[in-house]
């Protein structure tokens, strides 16, 4: 039974239990509690659910609120409501899952002075502090969050629909998320990035890079060294822009540096397709490198070094290397011959190692045209009694089969034979690879490109265990790495797979599942919150550590009450 919002007076408190009396409600409604806010007459709409470390956030744009669901003991859910800006355009969680960012475009058209303007609301769910609301000069649809949690950037991505009649796609708004008491500079800062016709499409926050060889990059007493810098790399559809984040909030910030990728010798425009950043040794001058792949056969390497002066105290120098085909993936890797940029070239079914400073290349023939790679050194080396200091990469994404392979870079230069190990257990094409965090980092979950089921790969044992599903599942990995969840979208079937035993535990819900979130419980332990998008949203809460349908609790009407 679904309940319309208008049936519930604002003075009634919901206790989280599914025990309603329609007669009681009607009596209360007919008795009335006086005039009521308009939100009681509006529909819930389509809330956005966002998983967090210790709960699930439901962003109720119709009522300009974010409702944070916190798992309690006995599969209870408590709710806390926070005000957010009007007209929510984007909702993003911080990488650590402790903060929720809600980007709003504000009321449009504005009919009164009280109508809201565009804003960013930041809700810190771990501290319980009052949410912070940052004003925006104009509505922007996209949001990028710094992995280190220091910065956020609102922008209008090239792929986004314009949020207003006229939009400057190169305008970005930078937010310094440090507590305001520690920040004495303007915040946020709006900038219009220099453009040669492109629009931002991807933003990357670099780690600390040593960009200035003439100034020390060794910090003292925990303070950042003058030569260290964090940059925001903005890829547009035709160039890359480097923006000094650490100086972006000055009264007169330095101009950004634009690296144009098209020489102008021909009409063909070179577009960036992804980048990798190397700041392996942040105390080493001359170690700040950026590798960029484009839609042509060149890999660009950009080395940051000292400049001759203003406006920036660092300058990029460019090196191009032809790798024989458009690379599908690049990464900085450490080989037995030193630092290289590894590029996968599926069209040639090979990988190319590029020495970034000299453009020397080493080609490695691959048994299949792998298109994706990820470094698994931290897992492989951690288990090794003699860490090699060189990287190991996992290759996948071949369209022609031959699922995954291990590429041991310590044996690459001078001895290509046996440096590639194909995992014979995996023959299906792999669409994506998911990391397992926490206590089982040696495992990877492989999603298949075709068919149902998935695989769990053990990097150390070099085994791949298939798990079959009745239909194509949606997967969710537990943040503590103790297991994973699989469910049928819009179905009621659910399963818990424990790591490392891989024992599946079948579960079910009464209502169709749209999403599941494995969250920490307030009293310790973990809970699985399965969201049902019927009516005012409901959830079924399981004990994630010992899931059992007998102990699961269904919580309906999560957004039924007012803000």
């Amino acid at each position: 039974m679904s309940l319309a919002r208008g049936d519930v007076p604002s003075c009634y408190l919901h206790d989280g239990r599914v025990t309603w009396s329609l007669v009681a409600m009607t009596a209360l409604a007919s008795g009335g509690c006086g005039s009521r806010p308009s939100y009681w007459d509006s529909n819930v709409g389509t809330p956005t659910a966002q998983g967090l470390a210790n709960g699930v956030a439901l962003v109720d744009d119709a009522n300009h609120r974010a409702v944070l669901l916190t798992a309690e003991a006995d599969q209870q859910l408590s709710r806390a409501s926070f005000s957010v800006g009007h007209q929510v355009r984007n909702v993003v969680a911080s990488p650590d899952g402790k903060r929720l960012f809600v980007l709003s475009t504000g009321d449009w058209p504005r009919h009164s002075a009280g109508d809201e303007r565009p804003s960013l609301t930041v809700i810190d769910t771990s501290s319980g502090a009052t949410p912070t609301r940052y004003p925006l000069p104009e509505p922007l649809p996209d949001l990028a969050i710094d992995p280190q949690g220091r910065y956020a950037v609102a922008y209008a991505g090239a792929q986004s629909t314009s949020a207003s009649f006229v939009q400057n796609p190169n305008e970005i708004v930078l937010f310094d998320l440090k507590p305001s008491s520690q920040t004495d500079s303007p915040n946020p800062v709006s900038r219009s990035i220099r453009s040669f016709g492109g629009s931002p499409s991807r933003l990357t926050f670099t780690p600390e890079l040593c960009v200035h060889a003439a100034i020390s990059c060794a910090g003292k007493d925990g303070a950042p060294a003058p030569g260290q810098r964090r940059l925001l790399l903005i890829e547009s559809d035709i160039d890359v822009t480097l923006l000094d984040l650490d100086h972006a909030f000055l009264a007169t910030p330095p101009a950004e540096i634009t690296v144009r990728l098209t020489s102008g010798a021909s009409a063909r425009v070179v577009a960036p397709r992804g980048l990798a950043v190397d700041g392996y040794d942040m105390s080493s001058p001359g170690d700040a490198r950026i590798a960029l792949r484009t839609d042509d056969s060149n890999v660009f390497t950009i080395l940051l070094g000292p400049s001759t002066g203003t406006p920036n105290d660092f300058a990029p120098t460019i090196n191009l290397t032809d790798v024989g085909g458009a690379p599908s993936s690049i990464a900085f890797v450490h080989t037995d011959q030193g630092l290289r940029v590894a590029a996968l070239v599926p069209s040639a079914s090979n990988a190319v190692l590029v020495e970034p400073d000299t453009s020397l290349t080493t080609q490695i023939a691959l048994p299949a045209p792998y298109a994706s790679m990820s470094l698994v050194t931290s897992v492989v080396d951690a288990a090794s009694t003699a860490p090699s200091g060189t990287d190991t990469a996992l290759l996948w994404g071949s369209a022609t089969g031959s699922g995954v392979a291990f590429w041991t870079l310590g044996k690459t230069v001078g001895q290509p034979y046996r440096s590639i190990e194909v995992l014979p257990d995996v023959t299906q094409p792999i669409r994506s690879v998911h990391d397992v965090p926490g206590k089982n980092p040696q495992l990877k979950v492989l999603e298949l490109s075709q068919g149902s089921g998935f695989l769990v790969l053990d990097l150390l044992a070099r085994t791949a265990s298939p798990l079959h599903t009745a239909q194509t599942p949606t997967l969710a990995i537990s943040p503590d790495g103790s297991g994973m969840w699989a469910f049928a979208p819009d179905g009621t079937d659910l399963a818990r797979i424990s790591f490392p035993s891989l024992t599946p535990l079948p579960l079910t819900t009464d209502l169709s599942i749209q999403a599941v979130y494995d969250v920490a419980r307030r009293d310790g332990g973990r809970a699985l919150v399965a969201i049902h998008s019927r009516g005012t949203l409901g959830a079924t809460v399981f004990d994630a550590d010992n899931p059992d349908t007998a102990t699961a609790r269904r919580v309906p009407a999560l957004l039924l009450e007012g803000p």
Partner: protein, 559 residues
């Protein structure tokens, strides 16, 4: 795709030659003045081949054996291994396709480009002793003009001058006031017999004289300036054309000075009974650094002619035998004629030889076959060797003591490059690779001052270019083998004789030293432009690829 023309990176032969004749190239370690040197190792305008049996022979003396077989003329290939254009801290590289010239700061690796004319190709540095600016000039072959490029306090300016149709070389005066664009026929591809390449463009770079196109004699081979920059001299097959730079309202050609090379004298090879080939070759002309005299040698003629460039006076200096090489000291105070057939050298004092043609000193080099001489920069020694026979020895003649010692090498000599301080030399060897061998070439590091053994270095590809640092402690040797795609660079450390090898990603075109940045560089053949810098102290290598892209980085410092 833009193409960085290999030719665009090479310094003109004439600039290298004019280094010893009153002009200068600042900021780089120049090659050595060739005498009509060709492009490819082993070949010069004599058409001689290593190991061939032609030319005259007389007298005695050979490589330690006491007899002189019939040997071909010597080859001079040092000019083939020439350096690209560098001024101070900058390396200049032209892109004929895009019409732009890149100049790269060898210290910061910042690349900037500037628009020149249509098809900028042939670059040369221009000295600027007054303002110490970085200046270069480039011939734009398609628009048939020249662009002067000047970096003054970080700002680049350009100025356009007329040029000639086929200009492929530059001669620049020592003070940087004059530049002459001319055509070196030896660099032209398949020239017609009737192509004289006689047009030269005389450019006053800093003064008020109008740019003037003049006609000189047939197929000039060398241009030089007088020390006072009032005259220029073009060595042609019709004699020496004299260009008055400052007289009249504009530069003009004055009556030529004949070279008066003696008529070819057939000589008989007694062993074979066949006449040696007569010579129709252009004379080998060397001009003193002050532009006062020209010394002329004709293959097979036992004499040297000294031409006074001021008045055209000719002085013939008979020699005991036909010199196989004639080399001027860098200071211009003497010349060495190598008398291969006599196993001796004649030292001609300049200008004393004019007044007393017999006043030369003959120094016998018994037991050695020497056909070539190179005088070190300070004139304290001369390196004697032969490229006409498989002699693996190098003789060092101490001057003025006129004593000598011979250094044993381990392969025949192809070319020799002494350091400016006369302490060491890089010797390229002529190597015939054995079947299946990975060794395709070799060079030696030779301590010519001390009585120390030379160190030979086998390399996997033939050496293609050499550069020496002004500090005399570093040398760069580039290697190239297109058949095996082996491209490399060897950094030579002196006096330790260590060699650090580097692999290059692309075929090397030329090497040089940016002295101001203490870096060596090797320009490479790559469509987007590629150059590798090597830190001469630390040995670290950095490659810059994509000059146009590098120049298009916008940092907000300019609107």
């Amino acid at each position: 795709m833009s193409a960085w023309n290999p030719r665009a990176v090479l310094m003109s032969v004439t600039v290298v030659a004019s280094t010893a004749c009153g002009s200068s190239s600042s900021g780089s370690a120049a090659g050595f003045a060739p005498s009509g040197g060709g492009f490819s190792p082993g070949g010069d305008d004599s058409g001689a081949f290593f190991g061939g049996a032609s030319g005259s022979s007389s007298g005695s003396g050979s490589g330690g054996t006491g007899s002189v077989p019939a040997l071909p003329p010597e080859t001079k290939t040092e000019g083939s291994f020439q350096t690209p254009v560098a001024t101070g801290n900058f390396v200049w590289i032209a892109n004929p396709t895009s019409g732009r010239v890149a100049y790269i700061d060898a210290t910061t690796f910042v690349v900037q480009t500037v628009a020149a004319g249509n098809g900028p190709t042939y670059l040369a540095p221009v000295p600027d002793p007054a303002a110490h600016d970085d200046v270069a000039i480039v011939v734009n072959v398609l628009s048939q003009n020249a662009t002067l490029l000047r970096v003054h306090q970080g700002a680049l300016s350009t100025r356009t001058f007329p040029s000639t149709t086929n200009a492929n070389s530059w001669a620049v005066s020592a003070g940087g006031r004059w530049a002459i664009a001319w055509t070196d026929a030896t660099r032209a591809t398949n020239p017609e017999p009737t192509q004289g390449f006689q047009d030269v463009a005389v450019l006053d770079l800093t003064g008020p004289r109008p740019a003037t196109v003049l006609a000189v004699g047939f197929r000039p081979t060398k241009l030089a300036f007088s020390a006072d920059e009032t005259h220029a001299y073009a060595v042609t097959q019709d004699g020496i054309s004299v260009i008055d730079l400052v007289g009249g309202s504009q530069p003009a050609v004055t009556p030529s000075l004949p070279l008066l090379a003696p008529a070819p004298t057939p000589t008989v090879d007694a062993s074979a009974g066949t006449p040696a080939t007569g010579t129709t070759r252009a004379p080998d002309v060397s001009i003193t650094s002050d532009g006062a005299y020209a010394l002329v040698r004709v293959e097979g003629v036992p004499a040297v002619t000294v031409v006074s460039l001021s008045d055209g006076t000719l002085t013939s200096v008979p020699l005991p035998s036909a010199p196989t090489d004639l080399t001027l000291a860098p200071g211009g105070d003497f010349a060495i004629a190598v008398l291969r057939d006599s196993s001796a050298v004649a030292i001609l004092p300049i200008p004393g030889i004019i007044a007393a043609p017999a006043s030369f000193q003959t120094v016998p080099i018994p037991g050695e076959t020497v056909g070539r001489a190179i005088v070190t920069k300070e004139g304290h020694s001369a390196l004697l060797f032969t490229t006409a026979a498989p002699i693996d020895r190098l003789t060092v003649l101490d001057l003025p003591a006129e004593t000598f010692h011979t250094i044993q090498l381990h392969a025949p000599v192809l070319a020799v490059f002494p350091t400016d301080d006369g302490q060491n030399a890089i010797v390229l060897h002529s190597v015939t690779p054995a079947a299946g061998s990975t060794v395709k070439g070799a060079f030696s590091i030779v301590p010519i001052a001390g009585k120390l053994p030379a160190k030979i270095v086998s390399v996997p590809a033939p050496p293609t270019a050499v550069a020496l640092s002004p500090s005399n402690d570093r040398a760069l040797v580039s290697l190239r083998d297109d058949s095996t795609k082996t491209y490399g660079l060897d950094l030579v450390l002196m006096p330790s004789l260590q060699v650090l090898p580097y692999t290059l990603a692309s075929p090397p075109l030329s090497v040089g030293i940016a002295a101001g940045a203490a870096r060596g560089y090797v320009a490479q053949d790559y469509a987007e432009g590629r150059i590798t810098f090597v830190d001469l102290a630390a040995g670290a290598a950095r490659t810059i690829t994509g000059f146009e892209l590098g120049a298009r980085v916008v940092d907000g410092s300019h609107p």
